[in-house]
Symmetry: C2
Subunit: 142 residues, 2 copies
């Protein structure tokens, strides 16, 4: 079950190879971030990742976290999503999926549902991607 999902979250080793292939270097800072992102379904912000990273590697810079996240996004290894909270959330799960956001606690859950209905009524618009955001109250908050 979860194996199906893990297929779409790159391991630190895979990211290492991808970075080298792209002519990018694999530094200790990046290795740490690869590890923290692996199988991470919390949809962290740059700031929250920085906090966790700092506890393992005091002195790591928030700037470096942003830089690495940008690199990963450019390579398509994660997506940056804006749920309107002010800060961008990063999702290392590159499988096609959608999200449910709890308006009470802010938790963001990956959801796998049928695709959005086909877009009609906009002649000539070619859809490349559709993303559904469900908002409501999660089990823990209700």
């Amino acid at each position: 079950m979860s194996a199906n999902i893990i297929l779409f979250v790159r391991s630190p080793e895979q990211l290492t190879i991808a970075f080298r292939n792209a002519g990018l270097k694999v530094t200790p800072q990046r290795q740490l971030l690869f590890r923290l992102l692996h199988d991470n379904s919390t949809h962290p912000t740059a700031e929250s990742l920085f906090t966790v990273a700092s506890s393992e590697m005091p002195g790591i810079s928030l700037r470096t976290v942003y830089q690495t996240l940008t690199d990963l996004a450019d390579m398509g290894e994660l997506t940056s999503i804006d749920f309107g909270s002010g800060a961008s959330h990063f999702d290392p799960n590159v499988a096609h999926h959608h999200h449910a956001v709890c308006d009470t606690c802010g938790a963001i859950h990956d959801v796998y549902v049928d695709d959005a209905p086909r877009l009609t009524g906009l002649d000539g618009f070619s859809v490349e991607h559709s993303h559904i955001v469900y908002r409501g109250t999660c089990a823990a908050c209700s």
Copy 2:
């Protein structure tokens, strides 16, 4: 056809009444903004609305535009949507609908499609809203 949609965009007169009922005053600045928002499907940002407003009323403050948009949002007369562009977009169409965003020109189109599929697989999550964003290329850009 469009009459069905217009039902969900308040007229300046309706907004005037709503503001007075809420104990808020209806100033020339607000009347101007009510008018600029009426039947406006461009999903403006505060800044773009400010630019247009300034041409009709030089001296109007960006601060006032934000304030009025906030008031309208608090009253439920418009919604603020973040498409990840950095700035919030405001939508005076309060009917339940979704959006198609052109990745080339940034245009945002209202779309009326079937609702998103029912959320399954997240036990206990009660959905209050769902919002679909289609991304791709609009007719004019392709």
